[in-house]
Every structure is written in structure tokens, then in C-alpha cells.
């Protein structure tokens, strides 16, 4: 039970990865277009992130070193620099999208001008991140993000054909547009494996002073935290499949995602969905702001950590504050936050393999990890998933172009 309430880090990292503003809309589109047929893709992605999050959490617990340290040590300065540039751009673009996304959700609550809400959102994020200690950020945004479970309740209330849902756990040939199907499948898998999740997660483990005694906690976070994130993602997909697929709606607004929960559960469902989305998007913003600052600080060897005071780690603090401020500037140009997450995919192509290969190499290295090195199963799964990551990375941009970013 104690472990169950200590999985906030995993939940928050997962929320930042696959139920952020772009992914909520993307997952809803996948369900509306292909009904239950793409559930398997979410599961493939979730198992992959569980495997790698467990590895990088274990490395952090055993060596006290986060992922970027490991990347730089294994790949050298040049590849490390490429990784940090790509990863910072990916995290930063996603952060900007989340700031805009939070304003979009606020607009659905208050109907105030978007520009004002962007400013209010970024100020609120700054204040909350400044005031709350790391473990409270995890708890508040991790557990409150579970309000998204309203989609699971909504899906059950809509009485799906459970046989058809079960069929979705196995890949199948779509009735139409195999290219579009591949685009959504790769997108769902890649969303679960976004590199900033492991940067945030492993640095979070260091922030919480994980040691060898916390390896069980790491496993619980990886399996339960990311597992819950996956359940949320599947729930959103189910509601979309049940509400929007039968009437051929092509969702591309965050309001459409929330309306899906309104249909089975009425006003209470809508309010819970909006709260869950707002918290998830805010959590994703904090997740990516920290990932940006962690990457920069760790690469340049600065003092870092939210648990450290501003005086001890001034450049780290400036980095995450500046990330929020620059995110505000980007969103204020009027760019569509949801499209911004699609552009971010370009950078994930470079960062995905450069992030996950070193984690695997170090986690299986007995000279480095001693008795805590990967077992055969973890190494085998790691190599299989590295193959999946390579396929996702290589096919993401061609599929993005071929399908006009899912627009057909």
C-alpha cells in the first residue's frame, strides 16, 4: 500500500509523456478513426517505457546518475551535445504547447481572451513550481491527473462490445488507409516513449535521493505509474471510439476530447474531464520545463535539483524559469499548441535512439552496475524495444508527410 501511494513520480512522468495536450487530441483522433483497432499500439508503447524507465531509475538509484550523464559518458561529448540540443528543443517545444494547451482548457472554463489566459497560465505554473517542493509537485499533479479516469468510467458507462475491445489488443489489418493506420500506430508508440519522460523520471529519482534500497520503489513507479498513464490513454481512446467513431467526427480540438466524457456522464463528467485535462497539461508543462533545465544543467555540469535552494543551484533555477518564459513567448505568437506538438516529433527522431541506447548499454554493464545489472529478460526486452524505437524514429517523419499529419 505504501508503494502504491509513492508512485506519483511515475504517474507524472507518464502524464507528461502520453496524456499531454497533443496526445489527448491524437489519441482521440486514433479512436475516432480506427475505433478499438489501435489499443495494441498504446500497450506496446507502455511496455517499452516501463522497461526503459525501470532501467534508468535503477541506474539512478545504483549510481546516483541521471540519464544525460550516462548518455554523455557512453557516447562522448559530440553525440552528447547532439542529444542535449535535440532533447532540449523537443522538451521546449512541448512545454510551449502545454502552456498554450492550458490556456485552451482555461478558455473552456472561463471564456476569457486567449492571450490573457496564456499569461495567467504561465504565471500560475511559475508560482506553483516555485513554491511547491518536488515531491508535492509529483503528488499534486500526478494524483490529480488521475481525474482523467473519468474517461474509463465513461467508457464503461457507454457499454462497449468488450469482444471488439479485446480484439484491439492484437494488431489487425485496417479496413481503410493502411498508411494512416501506421501513422497513428507509430504516433501512439512514440508518444509513450518521449525522451523527456526518462530525463524527468531519472532526475526525479536523484531528486528523491533514491538508493539501492529504493529499487522496489523504482519498479513500482515504472510499472504502476506508467501503467496508470497507459490506462488513462486507453480510456481516452475508448471514449473516442464509442462517441465519435459512429458519427464520423474527426476531432482536432481539446474541447472535443472533454465533450466525449460529457456524453455518457453529463455535466459532472465534463467538469472532471476538464479538471483532469487541465492538471495533466499543467503537469506535462512542469515535466518538460524541468526536463529542459535538467538536460542543460547536467550537460554543462551545473548544480541542479529542485531540492536545492536557488542560491545553491541558481543556473538550474534560471533555466526552468527561462523555459517557461520563452514558452510563453512562443505561444504568444499565435501558433496552434496542438500543431506545435507535431513539429516536436521532428526532434524526437534524433533524440529517441541517442537516449535509449546508452541507458540499455549501461543498465546491462556488470562492471558499472554490479549485481544490479540487467537480467536476460530486461536486456532482451531492451534490445527488442531499441528496434521498435529505431523503426518509430525512422518512419515518423515520412508518415507525418504522407498523411498530412493525420489529415489524410
Amino acid at each position: 500500500m505504501k508503494k502504491l501511494v509513492q508512485v506519483a513520480l511515475g504517474i507524472l512522468a507518464a502524464i507528461g509523456g502520453f496524456v499531454d495536450i497533443g496526445d489527448l487530441v491524437f489519441t482521440t483522433q486514433a479512436g475516432a478513426e480506427f475505433e478499438f483497432q489501435l489499443i495494441w499500439a498504446v500497450i506496446v508503447g507502455v511496455v517499452g517505457i516501463v522497461v526503459f524507465a525501470e532501467m534508468c531509475g535503477r541506474v539512478a538509484a545504483v549510481t546516483g546518475r541521471p540519464v544525460l550523464d550516462v548518455v554523455r559518458q557512453r557516447l562522448g561529448y559530440g553525440a552528447g551535445l547532439v542529444t542535449v540540443i535535440g532533447s532540449v528543443l523537443l522538451s521546449f517545444l512541448t512545454l510551449s504547447a502545454e502552456v498554450g494547451g492550458l490556456a485552451l482548457v482555461m478558455e473552456l472554463f472561463f471564456d476569457a481572451p486567449y492571450a490573457t489566459l496564456v499569461l495567467v497560465s504561465v504565471l500560475a505554473l511559475l508560482v506553483v513550481t516555485w513554491i511547491l517542493p518536488f515531491e508535492w509537485i509529483e503528488r499534486v499533479f500526478g494524483y490529480m491527473g488521475l481525474a482523467l479516469l473519468v474517461f474509463l468510467i465513461g467508457a464503461i458507462d457507454l457499454h462497449p462490445d468488450w469482444g471488439a475491445v479485446a480484439d484491439g489488443f492484437v494488431p489487425s489489418v485496417p479496413e481503410h488507409s493502411i498508411v494512416l493506420y501506421a501513422y497513428f500506430a507509430i504516433g501512439l508508440i512514440a508518444a509513450a516513449l518521449m525522451p523527456y519522460e526518462v530525463y524527468f523520471y531519472s532526475s526525479g529519482g536523484v531528486e528523491e535521493h533514491w538508493g539501492v534500497k529504493d529499487l522496489g520503489l523504482n519498479r513500482a513507479n515504472a510499472v504502476l505509474g506508467f501503467g496508470l498513464g497507459g490506462l488513462l490513454s486507453i480510456s481516452v481512446l475508448l471514449v473516442a471510439a464509442l462517441v465519435w467513431h459512429p458519427i464520423s467526427v474527426q476531432p482536432d480540438m481539446i474541447g472535443t476530447v472533454a465533450l466525449g466524457a460529457n456524453v455518457p456522464l453529463g455535466e459532472a463528467g465534463l467538469v472532471l474531464a476538464l479538471i483532469g485535462i487541465a492538471v495533466a497539461v499543467a503537469g506535462a508543462a512542469i515535466d518538460t520545463a524541468f526536463a529542459t533545465a535538467y538536460n542543460i544543467a547536467q550537460f554543462f555540469g551545473w548544480e541542479w535539483g529542485k531540492y536545492r535552494s536557488v542560491r545553491v543551484a541558481p543556473r538550474f533555477t534560471i533555466a526552468w524559469v527561462a523555459a517557461f518564459a520563452l514558452g510563453y513567448v512562443v505561444v504568444s505568437t499565435g501558433v496552434d499548441p496542438i500543431q506545435l506538438t507535431e513539429y516536436a516529433v521532428v526532434f524526437s527522431v534524433v533524440v529517441l535512439p541517442l537516449t535509449y541506447l546508452p541507458i540499455l548499454l549501461v543498465a546491462r554493464d556488470r562492471t558499472f552496475m554490479g549485481e544490479y545489472a540487467n537480467g536476460r529478460l530486461a536486456s532482451a526486452l531492451g534490445w527488442i524495444y531499441l528496434g521498435v524505437i529505431m523503426v518509430a524514429a525512422l518512419s515518423a517523419i515520412p508518415l507525418l508527410i504522407a498523411t498530412n499529419a493525420g489529415g489524410g
Binding site: L108, W244, I247, S248, V249, Q250, L259, N262, G266, L270
Partner: protein
């Protein structure tokens, strides 16, 4: 010299890109693109009908209904504008005009929902009309 060659290449590239953009802007609207646009119009109408249903049942938030209906009305209006600005290929003039009319009617209906997001009786009528318009859009898309 190398710098000059580089600058020339960039200039040629820029002119080429501009020409390609200009040509693509003048390219006539084909059946596939028109079908996609009509499907978008039908999608907006279908979603609008679901939203109107919630308003009719008084089971949604007033602010949410107003903002979401505004977004949907804008989406229908933008579709109408895109089609108005397009140059339909031979034989597609009539269906394009029908699509523009449909988008306009859908935008108007959803616009009424935006104006009165707590009028349950009016919303019930809007929901029915939007369902009908969505069906018309589906038929039009199917005929292309």
C-alpha cells in the same frame, strides 16, 4: 567565389520554392480534396449536434457550450472560405457550391447555439437540423 555560388544556389532555391507555392495555389480543387473538405464539414456538424444534444438535456456547462460552439462555427466558416477561394476542377463547380452552402448553414446553426447556450428548446431543434446537415454532407462526400 564559393560564397557567390552558395548565394546563387540559395536564390535559385528560393525562386523555385516561390514558383512551386504559386503553382500549387493555382492548382484546381480536385475531387479528393473536395471530399476531405466535405467530410470535415460533416464532422463539424455531427459534433455540433452532439453538443446541442447536451445543451437540450441541460447536462453541460454553459461556458463550455458557448466556447466549443464558437470554435465549431469558426471551423465551418473557414471551410466555406477555403472552398470559396478554391478553383474547382471541371465538373466540380456544383458540388463545391453545395459544400459552401452546407458549411454556411452549419456555421449559422452552431452560431445560434453559441448565442443561446442555455436555451434547451432551441438547442433540441438545432441538434436535429445539424444531424440532417451532417447526413447531407455525408451523401455529398459519398457522391464525389
Amino acid at each position: 567565389m564559393a560564397q557567390l555560388a552558395f548565394t546563387t544556389r540559395r536564390l535559385v532555391c528560393a525562386v523555385g520554392c516561390a514558383a512551386a507555392l504559386l503553382l500549387s495555389a493555382c492548382e484546381p480543387l480536385g475531387p479528393d480534396e473536395l471530399q476531405r473538405e466535405v467530410e470535415t464539414i460533416g464532422s463539424v456538424s455531427a459534433e455540433g449536434s452532439v453538443l446541442a444534444d447536451q445543451v437540450a438535456r441541460q447536462s453541460t456547462k454553459r461556458t463550455f457550450a458557448r466556447v466549443q460552439s464558437r470554435e465549431l462555427a469558426d471551423a465551418a466558416e473557414h471551410s466555406a472560405e477555403r472552398l470559396t477561394d478554391a478553383h474547382p476542377a471541371d465538373g466540380l463547380g456544383e458540388p463545391t457550391q453545395r459544400a459552401i452552402d452546407l458549411a454556411g448553414r452549419i456555421s449559422d446553426e452552431i452560431g445560434e447555439l453559441e448565442q443561446a447556450p442555455d436555451d434547451a428548446t432551441q438547442a433540441a431543434g438545432i441538434a436535429t437540423r445539424l444531424r440532417d446537415l451532417s447526413d447531407q454532407a455525408d451523401s455529398l462526400a459519398g457522391s464525389l
